[in-house]
């Protein structure tokens, strides 16, 4: 038998001394990327209530609601597909995408972000 062929499997032994490809998730998560499309953040002062975000949303996740005597977006993150079209088409830049991804909750109402909740970053 060919000796080279016989010893071939031992080539893979070098993988024993390599670092693992995986991460121990909650302790060492991947660092967030700049310009990531996570959950939205609203700046209530610059929002003019034009409703462009709700018109451009492909899933109808955004509804304009009365807040502090003007109209502001309210986002249902259960419907949101995180495409980022709302933030991209916002004329004043009041709505922006953050790199916040840990937005899970225990019931459905947690996913409903009214203007006040939307304007707070964690």
């Amino acid at each position: 038998m060919d000796l080279k062929k016989l010893l071939q499997p031992f080539k893979l032994e070098k993988n024993l001394y390599k670092k693992p490809m995986t991460l121990v998730f909650p302790k060492e998560a991947l660092p967030p990327v700049e310009n990531y499309r996570g959950r939205q953040l609203l700046n209530i002062e610059t929002c003019v209530g034009c409703g462009m975000c709700s018109r451009v949303c492909p899933n109808d996740a955004i509804v304009m609601v009365e807040f502090n005597d003007k109209k502001c977006p309210q986002i249902h993150l259960g419907k949101c597909c995180f495409c980022g079209l709302c933030a991209e088409n916002c004329p004043t830049g009041a709505l922006e995408m953050t790199s916040e991804i840990f937005i899970a909750g225990y019931d459905r109402s947690f996913a409903l972000y009214d203007p006040e909740k939307l304007s707070k970053s964690e």
Partner: protein, 366 residues
């Protein structure tokens, strides 16, 4: 001797190697007598959904047609939409789209290596392939903002410019990938048990493949040089240097080899495109969220990782397509070729035949 009834075995939709696709296998002992495909477990009705969304809103939607190769689905859509809207993307936008579409092809082929080695019982191949997929997904994340669903191409260009560090990111990933391709050769493609299960299984001749509607690597593995990037160049493929990968035998193993060499070819295309990429605008400012289409009908085909991804689109003067028809490559691969090849084969060869065609159940059902 007593005539025994055929034994029917379900393949999928919860089988570890079938995806969300179901087929009933009629067995005579170990031999498969008939295959009755039963798609529809992943039907989401894209064609109807596209009629209710504007041309901009459809861009995030078509990503979901094939999750493993989202860039090609977007590329076909935006080109068809651009023809209906009568707008042209700037040269830089076209280069960026070509680069990202090729990156999507690499991503899809690496996933294929991983899944196929896994269903054939070679788990280490799967782990290495999924490890290789991660740095490319990380590039996706940095360029487009999304890991799996890029939502990146829009009619008239792309949504963001490439980051300044893009060439270095690509070089880092490709250096690593080139080393790992040698490892795939050693671990997967020259592996005796892998070859025994893939060679001379599910052999398809060129004429048969054409008759059954095969496209992409499945057709090229039979020896025919059929590549839309060469035959009917779109985007900037006519300016780039690359070869069409073909194999001769047309069996499951040569379909795999075709994909393995296409990874290298795609790396060549991206490196070539990064040298030729011009400056300037990356999107056409004429395209607005509610731009109206002309009264026009078009049909556009592009070469995805699995084959021809085509869109038939009709505009009627509003900002939504009047009709959009999607032709996915996996449809004919899974519903025509798979029953044809699986007939009269052994049941143990079914995963090898099925995965050598690189089907995507999401693309079959749409």
């Amino acid at each position: 001797m007593m005539d025994l009834p055929f034994f029917t075995v379900p393949f999928g939709p919860c089988h570890p190697s079938s995806g969300h696709f179901h087929a009933s296998l009629k067995l005579d002992g170990e031999r498969v007598v008939e295959v009755i495909p039963d798609p529809g477990y992943l039907h989401r009705g894209f064609e109807k959904l596209m009629e209710y969304r504007t041309f901009l809103q459809n861009s995030p939607l078509v990503d979901r047609i094939c999750i493993l190769d989202p860039f090609a689905a977007e590329l076909g859509y935006v080109n068809a939409a651009e023809r209906v809207l009568e707008i042209e993307a700037p040269e830089r936008g076209k280069f960026i789209r070509t680069i990202m579409a090729e990156l999507g092809r690499i991503l899809s082929h690496i996933t294929w290596i991983g899944v196929t080695s896994m269903v054939l019982g070679l788990d280490s191949g799967c782990k290495i392939a999924w490890g290789d997929r991660e740095p490319i997904i990380r590039i996706n994340e940095k360029v487009t903002g999304g890991r799996i669903y890029p939502c990146y191409f829009i009619p008239g260009g792309v949504r963001r410019d490439l980051p300044g560090t893009f060439p270095e990111m690509i070089e880092n990933v490709f250096d690593r990938l080139e080393k790992n391709i040698e490892q795939y050769d050693f671990l997967v493609f020259n592996n005796e048990s892998f070859r025994l299960r893939m060679e001379n299984v599910g052999t398809l001749k060129t004429q048969e493949a054409i008759d059954l509607g095969a496209t992409g690597p499945n057709l090229r593995a039979t020896g025919l040089k059929a590549d839309l990037r060469k035959d009917d160049p779109y985007e900037v493929y006519d300016q780039l240097n690359f070869d069409t990968v073909t194999q001769k035998k047309g069996d499951a193993f040569s379909r795999g080899l075709c994909r393995r060499f296409e990874i290298e070819e795609s790396m060549k295309i991206i490196r070539d495109a990064l040298q030729k990429i011009p400056g300037g605008d990356f999107k056409n400012k004429d395209f607005k969220p509610f731009t109206k289409a002309k009264e026009k009908e078009t049909y556009f085909c592009c070469e995805s990782a699995r084959g021809e991804q085509c869109y038939h689109m009709v505009g009627n003067g509003t900002n939504k397509p009047y009709r959009a028809k999607v032709r996915g490559p996996s449809f004919s691969h899974t519903l025509e070729e798979f029953p044809y090849l699986a007939k009269n084969s052994y049941i143990a060869d079914i995963p090898a035949i099925y995965w050598s065609l690189d089907p995507c159940p999401a693309d079959v059902d749409r």
